[in-house]
């Protein structure tokens, strides 16, 4: 098991965002996390990548609202729930955040190099950069363009490319298709499949259930911070109630 989440609970003040959640991802899998808005999908990714703990620390210092984070996250045989976010990346768990969030004022190349911040070996960095450019040829053409001037789809490619630069063992991608035109979405999904074929394990949060169920080896359906169901796309779609109520199909 590459990633194992056990009894994860996240509370912001009194609001329970994630309630005793368990899930696992095996090496080489493409696992999806689907569910309605506010189900806790993004929070799950933020929790395992250390951002919830990071935010908790800030809130604690500013005497603001209280965040509770419980449970264990094991990655590659090591507990990472007590490790700060910037060290989790080092272990190969990389999050490509929601809404893409490129560094808008920097060039495409600088964005990619920022992704490789922890890579000390210049040669290796070059090689990874070439891989990213092969994966997303448009980034090569735009390498000196300011990221803020890219289109939404291009920014998404950049965000995925930047995460790829961090040399992930497990790549978590949060809602990559949101706000993109159907054709571009298609392209983004193709790129994700391509990365998966490169042997990188992927944990994907998405709204676009119909496409994702075909791509993913397993899926988790989340609702109100709990796992409601899990299985292959076919298994989940066979459940009439689940399909109508939670998947909107």
């Amino acid at each position: 098991m590459l990633l194992e989440i056990a009894h994860l609970t996240v509370r912001y003040e009194k609001a329970v965002l994630i309630n005793d959640l368990n899930l696992y991802v095996d090496t080489g899998e493409l696992v999806s996390l689907v569910g309605p808005n506010g189900a806790g999908k993004s929070t799950t990714l933020r929790a395992i990548s250390g951002l919830v703990a990071w935010e908790r620390e800030i809130k604690r210092r500013s005497a603001g609202s209280e965040i509770v984070l419980e449970g264990t996250v094991t990655f590659n045989g090591e507990r990472i729930d007590q490790i700060p976010a910037h060290e989790i990346v080092q272990r190969g768990l990389v999050l490509c955040p929601e809404r893409r969030r490129p560094f808008r004022e920097m060039t495409v190349l600088e964005n990619l190099l920022a992704g490789a911040y922890l890579q000390k070996d210049r040669q290796k960095c070059r090689e990874t950069l070439d891989k990213v450019y092969d994966l997303f040829p448009l980034l090569r053409h735009r390498s000196h363009q300011i990221a803020g001037t890219l289109s939404g789809g291009e920014q998404q490619m950049l965000a995925i490319g930047r995460a790829f630069m961090s040399d992930p063992k497990l790549l978590c991608i949060d809602e990559p298709s949101t706000g993109l035109a159907p054709l571009i979405r298609q392209e983004v999904f193709e790129k994700i499949s391509e990365i998966s074929r490169l042997g990188i394990t992927i944990l994907l949060v998405e709204q676009e259930v119909s496409v994702i169920f075909k791509m993913a080896s397993r899926n988790y359906v989340l609702s109100s911070g709990k796992i409601l169901a899990q299985g292959t796309g076919q298994q989940l779609l066979a459940d009439e109630v689940l399909r109508k109520t939670y998947l909107g199909l």
Binding site: G50, R61, F103, R104, L113, L118, S166
Partner: protein, 287 residues
């Protein structure tokens, strides 16, 4: 000619102050009111090192910058860092810090006006105006420092991390950048630059325990004019205000009394017309 020289010198000084102030604001959202107080401390350091201990002025400058940087880092570690996420508290704490410096300087050096002798004496005459070598030197050194800073920010990995953190702290964390460590480093750089400004400017100005207030206001005006967090903006705005100040002083009778108000009027005008400043980016707060 006088206007150009004064404008260039004031502008360069403001540019250094404003850029270093923006730097730490960008990375850690720290509004360091004590920024120019560090500049004052550096100037007094040089005064006592060269005047009282008879040290070589260049060595005095080096030591002054080091002393101020260490002071800045200590202040950061024990005063600012524990309350870093509390913006109002940081504001108050740094005002207090500036006051502490002011009173300490007052106790040690008394409130008398002091001067520091120039590094190189003499002047040359261009179009009937005396240009002191010290002025040229100061201007040159400031440009060199700005150049080094540019290389540091744009061409090194540390610079990349600083810019990333300034733009999106959370995402920078996801790339493995340790934001608290970067805040500490940036604070060091920022304060060192303030100290450096004080060091190169000391021979051209009069030292008093209150000398931090006026540049503080001008620096704030520059930062607002240029756009909060924009280094290019700070650079351009510093020279705009530097030249405005020089123009007012030389063109208007008794202009020296007006220079501050003109600068602040420009700031207010910009705030009314373009609240994000000349080069500012409107900040999108997360969530």
């Amino acid at each position: 000619m006088n206007i150009i020289i004064t404008g260039l010198i004031t502008g360069s000084m403001l540019a250094l102050l404003a850029i270093s102030f923006s730097l730490i604001f960008g990375v850690a959202r720290i509004v360091n009111i004590a920024h120019t107080a560090f500049y004052m401390v550096a100037a007094y350091c040089i005064f006592s090192l060269t005047g009282k201990f008879g040290l070589n002025p260049v060595a005095g400058m080096m030591i002054a910058v080091v002393v101020v940087t260490v002071l800045g880092l200590l202040a950061y570690k024990f005063l600012i860092d524990p309350i870093r996420e509390h913006e109002a508290a940081v504001l108050i704490a740094t005002i207090a810090l500036a006051m502490i410096f002011q009173e300490a300087v007052m106790l040690i050096f008394t409130g008398d006006y002091r001067t520091v002798s120039a590094l190189i004496e003499g002047y040359f005459i261009v179009t009937g105006v005396k240009v002191f070598y010290q002025q040229v030197l100061t201007f040159g050194v400031v440009l060199v420092i700005l150049g080094i800073l540019w290389v540091l920010l744009m061409k090194t990995k540390l610079g990349l991390a600083i810019r990333s953190t300034a733009e999106d702290r959370e995402v920078a964390n996801l790339m493995g950048m340790n934001d608290s460590r970067l805040a500490m480093i940036t604070m060091g750089i920022s304060v060192a630059l303030a100290g450096f400004t004080g060091a190169v400017l000391a021979p051209l100005t009069v030292l008093s325990p209150y000398m931090w207030m006026e540049p503080l206001i001008m620096m704030m005006a520059v930062v607002v004019l240029g756009g909060l967090g924009s280094i290019k903006g700070s650079f351009v705005a510093a020279y705009i205000l530097g030249f405005t100040e020089a123009l007012v002083v030389f063109m208007i009778p008794k202009g020296a009394f007006l220079k501050g108000s003109v600068a602040l009027s420009i700031m207010i005008l910009v705030l009314l017309l373009r609240p994000e400043g000349l080069f500012g980016i409107s900040f999108e707060e997360e969530r």
